[in-house]
Symmetry: C2
């Protein structure tokens, strides 16, 4: 990065030579070099907490593909993990907390983690990765949205119906607001630590905001995303609410510099709706990576055409890369983005 | 029903004394009388295929709650089950097909079931239930959307990423269109059998349309919903695309008389978007039924106020009733709808 990278230009809605592309979960299980490293590690969280391993994994996809950004290998649950709720990962099921927060008293017993001592491994991984990247590409830091973190902490694990946290939202909204406020302030400090360590941009993953009613989304998710953004040091912020296509106007007013779109949204229509307020990131269906390369190229071209000539497009998937994707399909997508968007 | 019921009036966007209410999956596992019957039965599909059991289960919630409609106890997978793909239900996991359709050759080997001989039990259940209802409430028949059925038939079971059917959509669209066309024509005949047996309205459940990109939704889901509707005998049709809030304008032009809304949509905003073209059904968060009765009442009132004074509202959840809901919460919701919407 002798001059501003394509990603940072697109985030600032400045013209670029070709659309920048990166992918959520671009480092991970679909890459054999990741699986080899993972087998030698004790656990998934051990990899996240080891700055050298996190750095190595972050750089793996950049060695293979012509990506325009690195995203730190980490997990949205680092913050809850540091809060002493007994996080562990159940193979094939995902994260579980031994001590879920079910009552106002449970919530009042939660303490904020110390970012420097308890989560210092994340800033260390950012610093190391920035050094290793040596200007080849910008580095994106990230965190989960407060609502998304709270969902795991209250449900105790993955859920389809979110019965406990939604009952809490209806029956004990003040207690839930206290938890979300604590998570928002902690997350702002956590992202600031990443920005100070060298992260060029940060993304807030609002994975479960899209399960809420519009009014509950505004009260329990968007309000705390806004609170995080207001507390951040200067850096471009990308907000991705999965299933949030109905709320783009609200999200565009959150203070975010860019919005992530899932595949359900027509990206040309989204551009019309948000005007020039934000950059847009997305939005190929993650399942496109199971199609043949010629189909991948056709779909990439269709998305680029739909987006049109406006500045401010960052190509990405509508959600993360899924397991068992063949790496050559990722290469086909990345190369097609650069080819079809070249000015 | 000596005169037209509230449900049928609302579907025709005529004034009603109070907003009609029913709930997707209002008959089922959360009711102890259902669980008792289920324990005596051999399997879930055996219950669906036994007209007397289906009738009894259909009527169970009407004995408890002041509901404005019955919906036939059945399953969207009755059609694929009759196509010889080896359907069985894995406890805790859901439906599985022994012979999923993965290739164009697999698809070309599929035959349409005979509605009268192989699916006659559904019309028989409708007839029996209509007789037992004896005009107390209208009866809703239903079917899955072709895309939703195809998803199960191609994936072989529940999925989060839909890799096989989406790869087929990208790589072999003609084969997938043949399957969807067959399913649409079969479904139209199947719903007509329900209408002729006495169903007062029918609902098409497009459970997985909301996982598609906008263009893929139009091509692979909406086009076949429209084809079904064009093939139906006269009866009000409700179309429910879960996660389809971005496509209400498209859905309102499908020929449907009413659109089901999930909880992510603001129902007042939805009414503005679709104008007077269709009735709207929805849209409390299913998780509301885990809240306390006073919170249920507040939220019901908020949804009714948001909808406003226009005719054409049918109160429902944004998806089905979930297991472990306490029946008294369903009663609280039903009664609150009638109380707060009384003219």
């Amino acid at each position: 990065m002798t001059d501003k990278s394509r990603l940072l230009k697109a985030l600032a809605r400045e013209p670029v030579d070709t659309t920048p592309v990166w992918m959520m979960r671009q480092a991970g299980r679909y890459l054999p070099e990741y699986r080899a490293l993972r087998e030698r590690a004790g656990s998934f969280m051990a990899l996240c907490q080891d700055p050298e391993a996190a750095c190595e994994i972050t750089l793996q996809p950049l060695a293979r593909f012509d990506l325009d950004a690195a995203i730190l290998f980490s997990d949205i649950l680092t913050i809850p993990a540091a809060m002493g709720l007994g996080l562990h990962f159940v193979p094939g099921e995902g994260p579980h907390f031994d001590c879920p927060l079910r009552t106002p008293a449970d919530i009042d017993g939660v303490r904020a983690p110390d970012i420097e001592t308890e989560l210092g491994y994340v800033a260390a991984a950012v610093e190391l990765t920035k050094r290793e990247l040596n200007g080849r590409a910008p580095l994106i830091g990230f965190a989960g949205s407060p609502w998304t973190l709270a969902t795991y902490m209250v449900e105790g694990g993955p859920s389809k119906i979110y019965r406990h946290i939604k009952a809490l939202a209806y029956d004990e909204p003040n207690a839930l607001h206290r938890l979300l406020g604590l998570l928002a302030d902690t997350t702002a400090a956590y992202l600031n630590a990443q920005i100070r360590a060298g992260a060029d941009a940060v993304q807030i993953f609002d994975t479960w905001g899209g399960t809420l009613s519009t009014s509950a989304f505004e009260a329990f998710s968007l309000a705390y995303i806004r609170r995080i953004i207001q507390g951040l040091d200067p850096a471009p912020v990308i907000v991705f609410t999965k299933g949030g296509g109905g709320w783009l106007e609200l999200l565009a007013a959150s203070g975010a510099h860019a919005l992530g779109l899932d595949q359900t949204v027509d990206i040309g229509h989204a551009r019309q709706r948000v005007g020039d307020r934000v950059a847009l990131q997305g939005n190929a269906d993650p399942a496109l990576l199971y199609a043949r390369p010629d189909a991948i190229r056709r779909e990439v071209r269709a998305i680029i055409r739909r987006y049109g000539e406006h500045p401010g497009h960052i190509f990405n998937l509508g959600h993360g890369v899924t397991p068992e994707v063949e790496p050559d399909r990722v290469a086909a997508l990345v190369d097609a983005v650069h080819e079809y968007s070249a000015r």
